[in-house]
């Protein structure tokens, strides 16, 4: 897939918007420099260039394979892919320190991978297996990796914004130099939490960088049809949050932009809003018929494929050879294959774990009264008939159901040993990575 292709014309990428001089600080709105589309970023050295390219390839291949697995019903629910948005995702994570927090939306597989979570754990989550990042509880939309400070994908549009500011509040409260990166969609900027969160982040000087992944649509509604102000970077100014735009199809531009913003957030305690102009090449979710946009428009954006662009840059700059790029792609495919195999071979969560982790159990709360006609064990319902694998699981658990007594319909949910964990693991800085 990595072929020699010229970078497309960025002029249709989005309206110029009032940016902020992230380095200088005191530019007034009138003086602010124009956004920096296709600036001359220094090419990274070969090693780093490869690392960044590999991360993007891994995400692309992962997402493609996830789409296939969804079509084969290995994955349930909704599946929102970030194909086309890889530069925004990887550029962002490349700019972050390992002690920074990242929080995202339901379109977050790429972010989790970029943070360094093993692909097999991400795929296993999609497969609903106990080996998944969220132990099969969250699925595609709700991944979380405390160890790598990936603070969650959230299914509710706009729901992650206040939480991001809360993470920033904790950093300010404790006096750490952790910063927070919050990714949101263009559609999410219309949610009430957007204005409320930006105001508080600015008022309390919280180290949060908000990145609008402007992929031009909120589901089937185009930017111009959902937002009166289409220069999204400007949406923060009235709340005291300066905004800047970056080319979301250029991983180096995203990286430098996010890095500047993080510096400002960290040292000047100034939240920043970034609009990364990008495009999703696939539908909103895998089930989207995409009647709301033309094939020509999609093709036009595909000309600016962020992975192809970056690979070409590296090749032309002499950082890597075409053969090396091909080899990286092969490696990514292999890693994804291994992830699928791992996921497919992993077990589902045991049915008797259904009630685990609803509460943190301890001396005060040893269980709770629950009125429930089912024991956690019993389920051979209509929905699973026919699926041999699930049937097997259900039957394996049938031993528990024998003699199930409805006298126990009011059940004291007792904590068992596995229900009483210690305090949740402190999210520790992971290894440095892209």
């Amino acid at each position: 897939m990595v072929n020699a292709m010229e970078a497309g014309d960025p002029s249709n990428a989005g309206q110029p918007s009032p940016g902020v001089n992230l380095a200088g600080g005191d530019a007034t709105p009138q003086q602010r420099p124009a956004p920096r589309f296709q600036p001359d970023h220094m090419l990274p050295d070969a090693e780093r260039g490869k690392a960044v390219l590999y991360r993007m390839l891994l995400i692309r291949r992962f997402e493609e394979r996830a789409g296939e697995m969804y079509a084969r019903a290995k994955i349930g629910g909704f599946l929102h892919l970030c194909i086309g948005e890889e530069a925004t995702v990887v550029g962002t994570s490349a700019a972050m320190r390992s002690n920074d927090y990242l929080i995202s939306t339901y379109r977050e597989h790429g972010q989790v991978l970029a943070r360094g979570t093993p692909p097999q754990e991400v795929m296993a989550e999609l497969f609903g297996r106990v080996t998944g990042v969220s132990k099969g509880r969250g699925g595609s939309m709700h991944m979380f990796d405390a160890e790598r400070r990936f603070m969650g994908g959230y299914g509710i549009v706009g729901g992650n914004l206040p939480i991001a500011a809360g993470l920033g509040l904790a950093a300010a409260y404790r006096g750490t130099d952790d910063a927070v990166v919050c990714m949101l969609g263009d559609g999410a900027t219309n949610q009430g939490t957007f204005g409320e969160t930006l105001n508080l982040a600015a008022l309390w000087k919280l180290p949060v960088v908000f990145i609008i992944v402007n992929n031009q649509f909120g589901m089937g509604t185009s930017l111009a049809r959902h937002s009166a102000m289409t220069k999204l970077a400007a949406k923060g100014e009235g709340f005291g949050v300066p905004g800047t735009t970056c080319d979301g199809m250029d991983v180096l531009d995203v990286e430098s932009c996010v890095k500047n913003a993080l510096d400002l957030a960290r040292s000047d305690r100034q939240p920043v809003l970034i609009e990364a102009v990008t495009y999703r090449f696939r539908g909103h979710s895998v089930a989207d018929p995409e009647e709301y946009r033309s094939k020509e428009e999609v093709d036009e954006w595909r000309q600016r494929d962020p992975i192809v662009q970056f690979a070409n840059k590296l090749i032309r700059g002499g950082a890597i050879t075409g053969a090396e790029a091909e080899a990286l792609d092969k490696l990514a495919l292999q890693e994804v294959d291994a992830a699928v195999k791992f996921a497919d071979e992993s077990p589902y969560p045991e049915l008797d774990t259904l009630y685990d982790d609803v509460y943190v159990l301890g001396d005060q709360l040893r269980g709770w009264y629950s009125v429930d006609a089912r024991s956690p064990d019993t389920q051979r319902g209509e929905g699973i008939a026919g699926d041999a694998e699930l049937q097997r699981i259900a039957e394996a658990s049938a031993a528990h159901t024998e003699g199930a007594d409805f006298d126990e319909q009011i059940v004291m949910r007792e904590g068992v040993a596995r229900d009483t964990p210690g305090p949740p693991p402190l999210p520790l800085p992971p290894e440095e990575g892209v």
Binding site: G128, G220, Y348, L351, A373, Q379
Partner: protein, 330 residues
């Protein structure tokens, strides 16, 4: 009569009411160009234009609030929330504004709005996207609450909802959209609020099923029949107003009750209905009322766990059988 799907019946109701009354219009996320996330509003933008079929930004609280404002001055908005999960973002407008305005302002103003949305689990959408919230809404005085479970009811109740001068919470079900059924063609056909439907007559046990559970209850009744148990299945159709009389008449006959709902058990529809039944018909009960509800957990994604976390016909059967084992109970 025509056979059509639940979603088509809703579409027809919208079309008929919009044709009959220019004050009726639609707002919601992706209801226009996208033709609705569940295709309920399919073709309506084309037929009625952008003025009356309005795509909104993702701003649930404000969309509902604007509907309230428009309704206060005489329009009849039908607001679609993409799913009931997102109604949580609009709870302030629904409970602090939409519901009490008529009362709070001394009856000077009416709020004839319908807020439509589907609910339900079973699609592996996990904790944020699998809610069933009829219990939340039935809690609130000032709201009417409908939970249609057949295509005919979908059409008849939606038309009644649009014509009513009260704010209506109209709860559809994601898994029922494709269900087929006979629907009256007559544009004057409505299903009045406050009239339960007896879906199946029986003598041994009354099963009250809410929303999708009305359908599941009928499956359970078939299974019970195989065991020689004659179950009467009642679909209340609206929870506010609730047709308690029909339920009580059935209880007087069967002396046993199971209430099935998909939402959480604590403070659920069954909890409330149990209280009402024992207050009104205690002497007729031969066994404790059984409740079947969703598991008392946030909905898990993984398929086996999710299947275990919401009720199936087997659970209703088990609960019905338990009403015959009362002597064994402590």
């Amino acid at each position: 009569m025509s056979e059509m799907r639940y979603r088509e019946a809703l579409n027809l109701a919208l079309r008929e009411e919009m044709t009959a009354d220019r004050n009726v219009f639609i707002m919601g996320e992706d209801v226009g160009v996208f033709n609705g996330a569940f295709k309920v509003t399919d073709g309506l933008l084309k037929e009625f234009g952008e003025e009356r079929v309005r795509d909104t930004p993702i701003s649930e609280n404000t969309i509902v609030g604007m509907g309230v404002g428009a309704a206060m001055v005489g329009l009849r908005p039908v607001v679609e929330l993409m799913t009931i999960n997102f109604s949580l973002l609009a709870m302030d407008q629904i409970i602090n504004h939409m519901a009490p305005i008529h009362y709070m302002f001394g009856g000077q103003v009416r709020v004839p709005i319908v807020v439509r949305m589907p609910q339900g689990a079973g699609h592996q959408l996990a904790a944020t996207h699998s809610h069933s919230f009829e219990a939340f809404f039935q809690h609130v005085p000032g709201l009417l609450v409908a939970t249609p479970s057949t295509p005919a009811d979908a059409k008849g109740l939606l038309k009644a909802a649009i014509r009513d001068d009260n704010p209506v919470i109209f709860i559809e079900h994601e898994t029922l959209y494709g269900m087929k059924g006979e629907v009256p063609d007559d544009p004057s056909f409505i299903v009045p609020f406050g009239q339960a439907a007896v879906r199946r007559e029986g003598t041994d046990v009354t099963i009250v099923g809410i929303s999708r559970m009305a359908v599941t209850a009928q499956k359970a009744a078939e299974q019970l029949a195989e065991r020689g148990v004659s179950a009467e299945v009642i679909d209340p159709r609206t929870l506010r107003p609730l047709d308690l009389d029909t339920i009580l008449r059935s209880v007087e006959k069967t002396n046993r009750v199971v209430i099935a709902e998909e939402g959480w058990p604590h403070g659920g529809v069954g909890a409330n209905m149990t209280a009402l039944i024992q207050e009104q018909a205690f002497d007729y009960l031969d066994a404790p009322i059984q409740r079947v509800a969703g598991a008392d957990v946030p909905m898990p994604y993984s398929r086996p766990l999710e299947q275990a976390a919401y009720p199936h016909a087997e659970n209703i059967v088990a609960a019905a059988m338990a009403t015959f084992e009362t002597g064994d109970r402590v």
